[in-house]
Amino acid sequence: MNIKLPFTKNALPPVTRKRISNTGILLIITVTLFFTLYIASTILFKSSNFAKYSVFFNLLNNKAHILLLALGLTVVLITGSIDISVGSVTGLVSMVIATMLTQKGFDAIWTIPVSLAIGIAFGVVQGFLVAYMEIQPFIVTLSGLFFARGMISVINPVSVPITDKTFMSWSGAKVYIPFLFNERKNGTLDIAYLTPAAIVAILVLILLIIAMKKTKFGRALYAVGGNPQSALLMGVNVRRTKFQAHVLCGLLAGIGGFLFTLFAPSGNPGNGVGYEIDAISSSVIGGVMLSGGVGLPVGTLFGVLINSLIERVVPLLGITEASWPRIITSAFLFVFIVLQSIFIGAGNKKGVSAILMQKIKARISAFPKRFKRIFQRKKTYPDK
């Protein structure tokens, strides 16, 4: 190995130029934005108790089902595909559960396998069409959306209540968190809690983080999203991976539907309308790129939390026109998306945003170096 290679300056590989990957940057932005927004809300709306533990935990309790859908979307988006059927699948699952429990008299425990089965069924069919028939995922899952939405009405066009005792006890269950409590105005204790749904969501999140980072399947997802042709040549079964991603997304949508039903226990034709959009926007805010290959499940968690927080903040702005809350919510979304696009430069190496981004990246990368320099200077100072 002692071949000496000619070495010129410009041939030096820029190993250290880009310390932080886009994924990392996006994650940092999202996390920072979330905490900034949270702290700002705490200060601005003092009377609304944002500093309470329960408010914080309810951000997750309220959106456990969306988190699952968003995680599913994170998985398919990372492979460069998309699934817009998840919202309707959620609605379908809730309707099936309600019908099973109330009209068919099934035992509550059966709702779990049935929810999962519905999700997996959608995942399998859509995954097959996307991966093995090579049909555009948008169209396939749009059909899935239509199908599920229509099936809800076929099963039952009106609202079905859930009265099953077991199921309602799951729905109402709370896992209190010790030591985290505040006192209410009337003197009662408001102890922070997690719902079983939130716990399931967190467990799924943890499993998914491990799967994405530490299993062959997880890495194959990124490889397929990064460059499917290369992945194929590197021995990744691209079709199978895409298929699996869709099945996983379907499964997560099934679980999400179940958690949704725990949260709002009823079957209603309007359940889950537009959740696909919520899930996609959560993923994107959390740093997933629609072009594939970039994103982390943790980012998605923060994406969901940001959306959840915005929902809490908007009513407090004191808007009296009926239409404004939604405009404001969209404005928040707009700010996030534009900020992100500015930061990332949208993969384009030109333009104002990219220059800004390069500068920021350079700053960030230079930071440790500069710090080291200061440190070294301090060290050498006494000598002089």
């Binding site: 932080i20 940092i28 932005i29 996390v31 920072t32 900034t36 700002a40 009377s47 609304s48 108790n49 309470k52 408010v55 309810n58 309790n61 309220n62 309600a98 066009p157 009106v158 609202s159 079905v160 209540p161 859930i162 309602m168 729905s171 109402g172 209410r184 105005k185 009337n186 009662t188 408001d190 949704f260 949260f263 709002a264 226990p265 009823s266 209603n268 309007g270 359940n271 309308v273 537009g274 929902e311 809490r312 908007v314 009513p315 004191g318 808007i319 009296t320 026109e321 009926a322 239409s323 404004w324 809350p325 404005a331 700010v335 900020l339 920021i360 960030i364 930071f367 440790p368 710090f371």
Partner: protein
């Protein structure tokens, strides 16, 4: 690891600056609508000593229809700061789960009262139990829910079946017992309590009158356009046989009238196809006056005063009645006057 921490802290600071910029712009954007409606409160300063009563209002979809907007506005105007209230409006955009989350948010924020116009009849037990435990009275508005009665304080709204009965009563005055009455029903969103009540009244009346026939019944989903499409297909199928159109809201009546007129059929009046509509918004009262709608049954959206009254009752230590029905009238093409139309605010 240390490096990463340093990086994060740097980005935090940067993002804070960016957000500060964004926040600084935000209020100017939002104060415009706020300013216009709160200007009153500046003139008539509220009783300085009293603290405002905080009311959390979970509206199903604040700008869904003209009726819903009037409903929202009524709440906002009655529960204004000038009157000693602070209203927090959460618009759930017809998403049941978001509405539950909104109500949970009110509980966390410890509002004094919660008013709910429910998206969904079912699935309220858990969150209402939370409200009860936190000691916050819940007032249901407009839409009923399936939940144990001890979970909420009272319900304010319309009696939809009674509305339907007013309409069927008018039909029986128009037609004699030997006349053939062929009715088509443009239903509202299936499962909505308004749809259920109004359809029920019609079906009861059809069953009770042997000369009445329900030719067709389909949901027009409260929409003009859909109703127009459906009505057109009915006209193709049934033609001139139809002599009563029972539209479960104004918008659908509008669609039906257009479809009929485009097919060259006479609408309303004494000899045209009888049109029955619900809600009685201003535009449709005008149409009633013009004779296009024969009977328009009011569905009163102005729940604000009633809600305020209930809150005052509770504040005073009393307990309100479990069901508070708002007053509603019916308007007929032959008796309505321009004054009635002009007096309508929505």
């Amino acid at each position: 690891m240390k490096k990463l921490l340093r990086l994060i802290s740097f980005v935090c600071i940067f993002a804070l600056l960016v957000m500060a910029g964004a926040c600084a712009e935000k209020p100017s954007e939002t104060t415009v609508p706020v300013g216009t409606t709160t200007s009153k409160s500046v003139e008539t300063t509220p009783n300085a000593g009293d603290e405002l009563i905080v009311v959390g209002f979970a509206q199903c979809k604040a700008d869904e229809s003209d009726w819903r907007m009037a409903n929202t506005k009524s709440m906002q105007e009655t529960l204004s700061e000038a009157n000693g209230y602070k209203l927090i409006l959460a618009d759930s955009n017809n998403d049941a789960a978001k509405q539950v989350a909104d109500v949970q948010g009110f509980i966390d924020q410890e509002v004094d009262y919660i008013v709910i116009a429910a998206v969904n009849m079912d699935g309220w037990d858990t969150v209402l139990t939370n409200a009860k435990n936190a000691g916050i009275p819940v007032i249901l508005m407009d839409r009923t829910i399936n939940a144990s009665a001890d979970l909420y304080t009272c319900w304010v709204g319309s009696d939809f079946k009674a509305e339907g009965v007013k309409a069927t009563d008018w039909i029986s005055t128009r037609f004699t017992a030997d006349q053939e009455v062929n009715i088509v029903n443009l239903q509202g969103q299936l499962g909505a309590s308004a749809q259920i009540g109004r359809t029920e009244a019609l079906e009861d009346a059809v069953a009770a009158n042997s000369n009445w026939t329900l030719l067709a019944q389909q949901t027009g989903e409260w929409s003009t356009d859909t109703a127009k499409e459906i009505m057109a297909s009915w006209i193709q199928r049934h033609g001139d046989k139809i002599n009563v159109v029972y539209a479960e809201n104004d918008n659908m009546a509008d669609g039906a009238i257009q479809a009929l007129e485009e097919a060259g059929m006479k609408v309303g009046g004494d000899d045209g196809v009888a049109i029955i509509s619900f809600d009685a918004n201003r535009a449709y009262l005008q149409m009633t006056l013009e004779g296009k709608i024969n009977c328009n049954v009011e569905c009163n959206p102005l729940h604000g005063p009633k809600v305020a009254q209930i809150i005052q009752t509770i504040e005073g230590g009393g307990s309100p009645a479990k069901v508070e029905v708002v007053e509603e009238a019916a308007f007929y093409y032959d008796t309505i006057t321009q004054e009635i139309v002009d007096a309508r605010a929505y």
